[in-house]
Each structure stands twice: as structure tokens, then as C-alpha cells.
Amino acid sequence: MRLTILGGVDKDGCADHIETLHIDSGEIVGIVGPTGSGKSTLISDLEQFAQRDTESRRQVLIDGQPPDAEVRADPRRKPVAQLSQNMHFLADMTVSDFLAMHAKSRGREENLIAKVIDLANTLTGEPIHPEHHLTALSGGQSRALMTADIAVISDSPIVLIDEIENAGIKKQEALKLLAGEGKIVVVVTHDPVLALMTSRRVVMKKGNMVRVIQTSEEEQKVCNSLSRVDRWLINLREAIRRGETVSAAEAAL
């Protein structure tokens, strides 16, 4: 599958500097830029398969063609899964009831429920139980469950992620899980590890797609050392959460 974004206009009505952007299956692309720079708008254009009918006037193509209106309107046929910035569920029901209902709405088997919960529990330090109420889950648990749900039940060839780093979950594992095999992943991020895990990143400024940066070999090395720092930080956090003390030796990088 090839996703194509044809440039539109920014907040001042000026044309996107990037006129055409192709993303192929198996690629992880980042979107970076300060708050208000239009990152979420770009994600939303992709999610809707904008046809010059959104504020940005961008157009999104699948394999060079605009998708059918019916594909755009029916989430069951739309090849997109999205992890948005929401950190909480609002539905008043148990985890297993909710997952069963979601599996049904996607025409999937209900026996996927255990798989989703097991996977979610690999991403969060606080285990989720099938009988837990959705609304009572912590931010980290909710995010882990949303991530696992996307990986297992939605399982779409295009995955859009809006700022996974705020989630209090193991973000690199989450990204790898969502990326799966041969998917197109677009991730909005401020996080250096995640941004450098991508192969390219689009830079946004005042609503404009200003440039695309290819992740260099040097940046990949930076990414590897940053991952080590990240793991070290996670281990310290887990130790403190378990009620343990932390020694100076452990805290040395």
C-alpha cells in the first residue's frame, strides 16, 4: 500500500512547502513541530482521507487513487486505526464487555479479548483485569488497553498515533507493537527516542508541512544511546513503584 499526501495550504493560506509526500507499507514516519503547528490537523487529514474538503485543503490518496466515499464513511472498511491523545475511557462497562462489543463491531472473534488484555499488560506496570470497569482504569492502563486494542482488534494497514509519550506506558514497545509487520505508521511526537525511531519526519510550522528530514545514520546511533537512557529510567521508575530503594550504583548511567 502507498499513502500519498498532496499539499494544501497553511493557516495563512500559503501553500505547503512539501507538495507531495509518499509513504509506503513498512515505513514509520514522524510528525514534529511545536504546539499549534498543525500536527494534529495533518493526522486528522489522514484519518479522514481528506479530499481538499478540510481546512488544510490537502488531499490523501491510497495507491494513487482517492478512496471511495463509502470507504471514507464506514470505519469497518476504512484501513485506518488511530491512537489519539485521549487518556481515558468514558463508557461505563467492564473491560471484557467493551472489548467483546468492539470485536463484534469490527466483525472479529470474541476470543480475542484475552489476547488484547495480555498484550496490554505487557505495556503497563499496573495489571488490567477483564472485570475492571473501563472508567476506573488509570491513564497508563487506558492507554495500554487502547494500544493493544488497535494492534489486535482494529489491526489496520495504516496506524496513526498522536503523542504516545504522554501515556505512562512503555512507549517503544507500544510503537513496535502498533507498527506490526509491514504497516504504514504515522506518529506525532515530541519524544526524541520515538522521533529518531522513524525513518523520516515531517516538520510542521504554522500549519505548513515545511520539510521532511531523513533520519541519518548518526541520528540512529543517537537513538540507540537514548533508548538505553530510557530503559534505565523505566527500571528506576519500576523499582520506586515496587517500593524499593535505589542505590547510587544503580543510578549511574
Binding site: 486528522s44 470505519p75 468514558l90 463508557a91 468492539h102 463484534k104 487502547m146
Partner: protein, 232 residues
């Protein structure tokens, strides 16, 4: 003249949805006019007026606002004609959910807020089950999974409706709704309601203030569902 009736619970985003659709309609050469029905107070005329299209506010005061909307349809269409409009968007007050103020020859739009949870579509009744289009709002506030479960519930309650996902802040969904409105045939004369309003002629309607059932006449339903007629 085309007639679009936009109903839905208070705070669900009816006015925002209407404004985005009106803007898209205007952009494509249509001439929309808006009648907003409310009960006691509204400032929506100022809000909608910013679009520069004709707006009329009608307050139902001590009348049921949905009944008021229903029997005033002719006057509304007449008014819209005088404004040289070709589409009348009628936004209802949206209160008890039991009335569905949709005539047969209109586009019936039910606006519903996804943050109210996936059981809501089953509770709403004829307002949703007799709608042509169900617009789900505040979709950005819930996860994709929740949005899909909500959608499934809407389709359980009304399998034939078209669902438009809208976002009042970004305007998402406005162009989809406008496109559906453009394909709509004009309203007919002597229209009929799609669904009967609830029994409403009771002692309370004629001003009784005392609470107990012994003061009330007409068809009364007990808590256990038993119905009786009290009176001469």
C-alpha cells in the same frame, strides 16, 4: 424549499453542526436560512447570525417546544421563502427525546454526543430511530474503539440511518452533511409526522400543581406499568 430538521439532546452540538453545514451549503451556492426553536432563552441568533445568513428565533415559552416546532412548520417554510432561501434548517430545542419532530418529507438529523456513552443510542428512542442521518459529535474526546462501539449501537437502534462523524471545533462532518442536504428533494405540502408524539393531554397540561395521583384525571400509567382511566 428543502427542509432539514435538526434535533438532539441539549449540549450535543446541534448548533455547531448546523453552522458548519450551513457554511458548506453557502460555499456551494445554496441559500440556507435557519429557524432556531428554543424554550425560554437563546443567543444562538447572534451566533448563527455571524454567518451572514437569515436567522429567526422562536421561543415556545410554556408550550412543549417540539409540539411548537411541529405545528409551526408551514410558517417557518413561509418565512424562509420570504428570505429567498432554498434550504430551511430548523434546529429544535431537543428536550424529552420522546417526541420526534420529523415530518416525512424532510431530512431528519439527530445529533448525538459520543461522550454520553454507548448505552445512549438505545435510550434516545424515536428521535434517533426515525432519523435519516445521525451525526455523532465530540468524537475527538473518545478512543477509536469507543467511537466504533458507539456507532454499532446507533446502527442497532436505527439500521437504515447514515452516520456522519462530526467535530464542532474543526468543522469535520459539515461537508458530508451539506452533501446529503444538496441531494434532498424539496419539502411537500400536507406532510405527516413520522412518529406519534406521546400522550400529553393530562391534568398537568391544564395547570394542576398538586402532586398526588388522586388529583389527576385522564389516562394514567402506574409505576408497575398498569394503565387506568380516571374521570367521567
Amino acid at each position: 424549499m428543502k427542509l432539514v430538521v435538526i434535533a438532539g439532546t441539549p449540549g450535543s452540538g446541534k448548533t455547531s453542526v448546523l453552522m458548519h453545514a450551513a457554511r458548506c451549503l453557502e460555499g456551494s451556492g445554496s441559500r440556507p436560512a435557519v429557524v432556531k426553536v428554543d424554550c425560554l432563552w437563546t443567543e444562538d441568533d447572534k451566533r448563527i447570525g455571524r454567518l451572514g445568513i437569515p436567522v429567526h428565533v422562536a421561543l415556545s415559552r410554556d408550550m412543549c417546544p417540539d409540539h411548537f416546532s411541529i405545528y409551526n412548520v408551514d410558517e417557518m417554510l413561509e418565512w424562509a421563502k420570504k428570505q429567498d432561501a432554498d434550504v430551511l434548517l430548523n434546529e429544535t430545542a431537543g428536550l424529552c427525546l420522546r417526541c420526534a419532530p420529523y415530518p416525512d418529507h424532510c431530512l431528519a438529523v439527530c445529533v448525538i454526543d459520543v461522550t454520553t456513552g454507548p448505552n445512549t443510542p438505545l435510550k434516545v428512542g424515536p428521535l434517533l430511530t426515525t432519523a435519516d442521518v445521525v451525526v455523532t459529535t465530540k468524537c475527538d474526546l473518545v478512543s477509536q474503539a469507543e467511537r466504533e462501539v458507539f456507532r454499532e449501537r446507533v446502527l442497532e437502534a436505527n439500521p437504515h440511518c447514515r452516520i456522519v462523524e462530526a467535530n464542532g471545533l474543526t468543522g469535520k462532518g459539515g461537508s458530508d452533511l451539506a452533501e446529503i442536504i444538496r441531494a434532498l428533494p424539496p419539502a411537500a405540502e400536507n406532510m405527516m409526522l413520522r412518529h406519534n408524539p406521546p400522550l400529553a393531554v393530562c391534568t398537568l397540561c391544564s395547570g394542576e400543581l398538586r402532586v398526588s395521583k388522586r388529583y389527576h384525571r385522564g389516562v394514567l400509567r402506574h409505576m408497575d406499568g398498569f394503565m387506568e382511566y380516571s374521570g367521567e
